[in-house]
Symmetry: C2
Subunit: 144 residues, 2 copies
């Protein structure tokens, strides 16, 4: 999936970091906390409608990103969600949480103040870490 | 898992409807929309930390409840989430959504006004439907 196939709202809100076997890997531009969005390559909209083997593989990719959040970035908790009420294309939120983070203990949606932007160096470091830990193939970072 | 093993906050917020192979099945008391909560029997807190075969089985149970929401209750969309920032015991939200519902298009957390209570008859009907479609074993409904 090229960036052009990603929903424009996701591209506006996120950096496109790379590709896993089943999902594109995006990162919310708000750097208040690490909030990844995995976009499975499917025409279906709800993750629980996927055939079981695809669902299992998509969730395994979410689990790999979750492990990166905990083991490399040091988060104590990970929130995961498939909502898609605003952007219909299937996408899964995989969000690093810690007691006392800017939205704690609320869910992030509607509760996360702007927390600055990632530098190019930070994005490249995240790409390299995800490549090592999850096998993600990085894509060139696009200017905002 | 008896009701006594469920977190008191979950029991305060929900009706305990029954048991699947991996999860207890709860229903939020707010009847504004059908909002199920599945509680896997595990000491872990984050669903993405489960071993793969357990994760797959828990998600299969979520998918069965999602199919019930769409095929029997007529919802067009299902939101699924594992958060647990307030109640640490692992639990998964499986929520029937439709364009124009009382929280649409926001996520339900913090955005769903009180929408009345389920009658005993409605709860028994949901139990019977879930038993037929998902194999859930009903438990006696407790008074609030």
């Amino acid at each position: 999936m090229s960036g052009a196939a990603l929903h424009p709202q996701l591209l506006a809100d996120c950096h496109h970091l790379g590709a896993l076997s089943r999902c594109e890997v995006l990162l919310q531009r708000n750097a208040a906390l690490h909030w990844f969005i995995l976009v499975p390559r499917t025409a279906l909209q709800d993750v629980l409608d996927l055939p079981p083997h695809e669902r299992n593989e998509v969730l395994a990719e979410c689990a790999a990103v979750s492990a990166f959040l905990k083991q490399v970035l040091g988060y104590t908790k990970v929130n995961v969600a498939g909502l898609g009420n605003v952007v219909p294309d299937m996408h899964l939120h995989v969000i690093g949480r810690s007691a006392g983070d800017p939205a704690w203990p609320q869910p992030v949606w509607g509760n996360l103040a702007e927390g600055g932007a990632y530098s190019g160096e930070q994005l490249e470091s995240l790409q390299a870490g995800l490549a090592r830990m999850t096998g993600m193939l990085p894509v060139p970072i696009q200017a905002p």
